[in-house]
């Protein structure tokens, strides 16, 4: 029997012919991507295009099975394609690039595909590809893993929930005073060392303490706020020691940070009414440890304070020596040993004087570098589920599981591994219809504008607004606003017309610029917002706006505080909300909280889910 005989048994001769004609886009060649590439090849997809920005790192090799030690620093996309040639029967096209780069991947480039597989590791790119799938009505298979946890979600634009129909958790932030004055957990000390201290000493951003301008202080104590601001200014003066390579004065940095500044902090008595006061670091500890460390202790152990001071001094020296070469600006990078060591040591000294447990360098690396654990098995399972589900999405199981109704499709997540239940390895709820409040797939109308570079150079914003108003049924005096979505930049509204005489070229309209046109009138009924993608097409001789049907909707009054009550009410009515842990194998992503996820379930499922809600995950 032939290579494809097994596949033909499952999807039939005509199904096989169809899959050979199918072109798919695989976004990501990392943990899930490596696995998916293998699965899609063995499923005999005709053409697979693979996009990945990254190069291979040692820490990928525990799971990204297409890569070897010898491939480190090579691009993932091209290396993966080389590795699979031996068993591939598909046309494979690798790209090293960022999927959000509209020059490399303009909207019309996506049009060639029949289906998109997301195998991404970050929220921004997931959201972007989700939006592209909405623009082009392309089915999308979304997936993610974090440690033992993983999920897949098939998305049919306009017919099923999109990626943004459920709320995603944004990274946790802390009030300024917790970080700067009253830390109580190791993470507070790490954030202080990485985001505040390191930046003050090793970056050239001149007092750009953004945390003091727009952030929540967490206190109304004027003395404390004043102290924090003053401290920031004083720290900049410590940078001179670094820039001058004045190694004899490194002990002074320790003295200032962990004795003088703490002494000032202790003077604000209000802070210590209900808290344990911090210690002042013993001067003799500083004095006795200004030499290089003699031994090497494992990075998995929590070090002793003397050894920590020795390593703090050593890391400060190393960074200080690098400053001149690197333009007086070094960014924190978890894989840059010197920066990691500085941050880990500073965080630990701060923890020490605040009576907070210290941590090993290994643990601090994870927190400071947002490292998410990642394993081969979860990725293999999730990629397998994504690949299997594509058969139904493409209606290749039409002989016995025909896709008459796309909301009959199942999503899946690792229920047992995520400690949600013991009687199911996977939970497989059916996908929900679009969330009526979703700002991405429901509350907006989409279209593509055809324009050219020449037209952009000759058309002013004012001209464009007038074109838009005429085309989409606005009166000349109606209030509208225009937002550049990518940069979140306001271009025009009723009291901002400063840019009106600039041309689209001046305003940096490029291929892939997306604007949002909103009805800003104060009527009860308004026109639905319109999102427009600008496609540079040098064959057009006038700007062509798409024909769109724009419904009239009720003006929403924002009510932020209702969210919680609403979820509870819904839950009582037999619908559920659940936490789905998300996202990939690599770094820099937070877990996602599907707070809004509500879909009708049967009663016993509901009971099970309520159990889950009461029994949070173990760590």
């Amino acid at each position: 029997m032939a290579r494809e005989s097994s596949l033909i048994t499952i999807i039939g001769e005509d199904g096989y012919a169809r899959i050979r004609q199918t072109k798919c886009l695989l976004v990501g060649a990392g943990g899930i991507g490596s696995e998916l590439l293998k699965d899609l090849i063995l499923m005999e997809f005709g053409e697979i295009h693979i996009v990945d920005l990254d190069t291979i790192d040692l820490s990928n090799l525990n799971r990204q099975f297409l890569f070897r030690q010898r491939d480190i620093k090579q691009p993932k996309s091209t290396t993966a394609v080389k590795a699979v040639q031996s068993f591939s029967n598909s046309k494979l096209v690798p790209y090293q690039g960022n999927i959000m780069d509209t020059t490399q991947f303009p909207l019309h480039w996506f049009k060639q595909f029949n289906i998109i597989f997301n195998a991404l590791d970050n929220l921004a790119a997931r959201r972007y590809v989700n939006k592209i799938s909405q623009f082009l009505s392309l089915p999308l298979l979304e997936s993610g893993t974090a440690g033992f946890d993983g999920y897949i979600q098939p998305i049919f634009p306009q017919k099923t929930e999109c990626f943004d129909c459920t709320k995603k958790e944004t990274p946790k932030t802390f009030p300024v005073c917790t970080i700067r004055s009253t830390p109580s957990q190791p993470i507070h000390c790490i954030v202080w060392a990485k985001n505040f201290l390191f930046n003050q000493l090793f970056t050239d951003e001149d007092n750009k303490s953004d945390d003091e301008e727009n952030k929540e202080w967490g206190t109304t104590d004027e003395t404390e706020i004043k102290r924090i601001k003053q401290e920031t200014n004083e720290l900049k003066s410590l940078q001179k020691i670094i820039l001058d390579k004045d190694f004899d004065r490194i002990p002074y940095i320790l003295q200032k940070l962990f004795i003088d500044d703490i002494a000032k902090l202790l003077l604000i008595e209000n802070l210590w009414k209900n808290r344990v006061k911090p210690l002042l670091l013993d001067e003799s500890i500083i004095k006795n440890n200004c030499h290089d460390a003699k031994e090497k202790i494992s990075s998995n152990k929590v070090w002793d304070i003397n050894y920590i001071i020795q390593n703090f001094v050593a890391a400060t020296k190393k960074l200080s020596q690098r400053m001149e070469r690197e333009g007086s600006h070094i960014e924190f990078d978890k894989d840059d040993e010197d920066t990691l060591m500085f941050v880990a040591m500073a965080a630990n000294i701060r923890a020490y004087i605040f009576h907070i447990p210290m941590k090993s360098v290994f643990d601090i690396k994870q927190i400071a570098g947002n490292i998410i654990p990642a394993i081969a098995t979860t990725n293999a399972i999730i990629a397998g589920l994504s690949a299997i589900t594509s058969l139904r999405v493409l209606n290749l199981l039409d002989k016995f599981a025909s896709l008459n109704d796309v909301t009959k499709l199942n999503m899946a997540f690792t229920a047992m591994a995520s400690n949600m239940t013991t009687n199911r390895y996977l939970s497989n709820p059916q996908v929900a219809p679009p969330n009526c409040k979703c700002p991405v797939c429901v509350q907006v109308v989409r279209g593509v504008v055809q324009t050219s570079e020449k037209l952009n150079a000759s058309t002013t914003l004012k001209d464009l607004i007038s074109l838009l108003k005429t085309k989409y049924g606005y009166q000349e005096n109606d209030d509208v606003s225009i937002l550049d979505i990518k940069d979140q930049r306001l271009l025009f509204d009723f009291d901002f017309d400063d840019l009106n005489d600039q041309t689209l070229e001046d305003l940096k309209f490029i291929n892939g610029t997306i604007i949002l046109l909103s009805d800003d009138s104060d009527n009860d009924l308004i026109k639905k917002p319109v999102e427009l993608y600008f496609n540079i097409n040098n064959n057009v001789d006038k700007i062509v706006l798409p024909d769109l049907h724009i419904p009239v909707i009720e003006q929403k009054i924002p009510q932020d505080n209702n969210e919680e009550n609403e979820v509870l009410t819904v839950a009582e009515n037999g619908e559920i909300d659940q936490d789905v842990y998300i996202i990939d194998g690599d770094e820099s992503v937070s877990t996602v909280d599907n707070n809004d996820k509500k879909r009708p379930r049967e009663k016993e499922d509901l009971e099970e889910i309520i159990q889950i809600a009461k029994a949070p995950k173990t760590s």
């Binding site: 032939a2 290579r3 097994s6 048994t9 499952i10 293998k38 699965d39 090849i41 063995l42 005999e44 040692l58 525990n62 799971r63 099975f65 070897r68 031996s86 068993f87 440690g147 033992f148 957990q185 190791p186 990075s299 447990p357 290994f362 490292i371 998410i372 654990p373 990642a374 394993i375 081969a376 098995t377 293999a380 399972i381 990629a383 397998g384 589920l385 690949a387 299997i388 589900t389 139904r392 199981l397 016995f400 599981a401 199942n410 999503m411 899946a412 047992m416 591994a417 009687n423 199911r424 390895y425 996977l426 497989n428 194998g585 049967e602 159990q611 009461k614 029994a615 173990t618 760590s619």
Partner: protein, 351 residues
């Protein structure tokens, strides 16, 4: 069971290993990684699921990995679901063509080919392995293998698939799993929690960093039954509610019937259909309600078909559980799992 029974003293991991396995050590810890490195695992048959298991377990950094492949010769059909193979390998002994690729995947793992035949191996009085995994076995082979693993006190995993459908059978004989979980409103208590599980030790600790977090440290005793007994005694009576009984996956009776005689589907379909009714009775489910005709047809049609993504799911689940019991993390599977690739249903049954 006694994992890593054959091994010399454990050595601590080197910095280079810690760097390589960084992303998983952050999940299961150094001690678990050290346990994994001192384990010896045997895989029987390296078909589609076996290939996935090989990849996952070799990547994880197991100490010793061995394959017994029963002199399988590569076929054209194998190329459609086994990524170690290329068309040049057709007609050659499979294990010989893939061994270098397995070593290349992770040179730190000691890889060897088990040269004994299956029959020889299971007639031996002892075992060199801490864990045995069998894939694509016949009913008789599973029974014989299970007798052997039981007599050697070795944990056994068995997995197989028919096209979009598959199963996992687990026999750890007896296994005490250790768990640390946040205390919920429904607090754990000593005693039986399900037919095969009993909490035998419970200790409550408080997170020193966040005193509001109270943890339960549990030891759960997992009991298992041998494969042969499971086939005869598997029932859902008293295990599921009436409503749940109506929603049991048709893949459960289909798979159990298939396992009662793995040759029957191809040799005598009408007998298979008859036996299917008997299995439903044994399980205490209504065949008219559960056995959707299109499922029965597809199961019969897809008999013996290997499909890569299904193998990835089953191989992933088996490998993860092997790693979990070696590292003594997470609850082990107990004891029969089926997978339906149409609905992604993957229930776990305690038989």
């Amino acid at each position: 069971m006694n994992a890593t029974k054959n091994n010399p003293a454990k050595q601590t991991l080197g910095e280079d290993e810690i760097a390589l396995y960084d992303r998983q050590i952050r999940l299961w810890g150094l001690e678990a990684q050290t346990n994994i490195r001192s384990a010896r695992v045997l895989l029987i048959n390296v078909g589609a699921i076996g290939t996935e298991i090989t990849k996952n377990i070799v990547l994880s950094g197991v100490g010793h990995f061995s394959i017994l492949d029963n002199n399988h010769v590569v076929t054209e059909e194998d190329l459609g679901s086994q990524f170690f193979l290329t068309s040049a390998d057709v007609g050659k002994p499979r294990i010989d063509t893939i061994k270098d690729k397995i070593v290349d995947l992770n040179p730190r793992v000691n890889f060897s080919i088990e040269t004994d035949t299956f029959e020889n191996l299971i007639s031996k009085n002892n075992s060199n392995y801490d864990i045995v995994i069998g894939t694509e076995l016949t009913k008789d082979q599973i029974i014989q293998l299970n007798w052997w693993t039981r007599s050697n006190n070795t944990p056994l995993y068995v997995a197989g698939s028919n096209g979009l459908f598959g199963y996992i059978f687990v026999d750890l004989i007896q296994f005490d799993s250790r768990d640390k979980k946040l205390q919920s409103i429904k607090q754990s208590a000593l005693g039986s929690i399900s037919p095969n599980k009993e909490i035998v030790s419970l200790e409550v600790t408080i997170d020193p960093e966040e005193p509001k977090k109270i943890y339960e440290n549990l030891v759960t005793k997992n009991k298992y039954v041998p494969f042969e007994k499971l086939l005869c005694t598997a029932t859902l009576e008293g295990k599921l509610t009436k409503r749940q009984l109506k929603r049991v996956s048709p893949i459960l009776p289909l798979t159990l019937t298939y396992l009662k005689d793995t040759n029957m589907v191809s040799s005598n379909v009408s007998l298979f259909r008859e036996e299917l009714e008997n299995t439903c009775e044994q399980l205490r489910i209504d065949p008219n309600l559960i056995l959707k005709p299109e499922y029965v047809e597809q199961f019969i049609k897809q008999n013996g078909v290997e499909f890569s993504p299904v193998a990835a799911v089953l191989g992933g689940a088996v490998s993860q559980d092997v790693i979990n019991i070696l590292g003594k993390k997470q609850q082990p599977l107990n004891n029969f799992i089926i997978f339906d690739g149409v609905t992604l249903d993957m229930p776990i049954f305690e038989f």
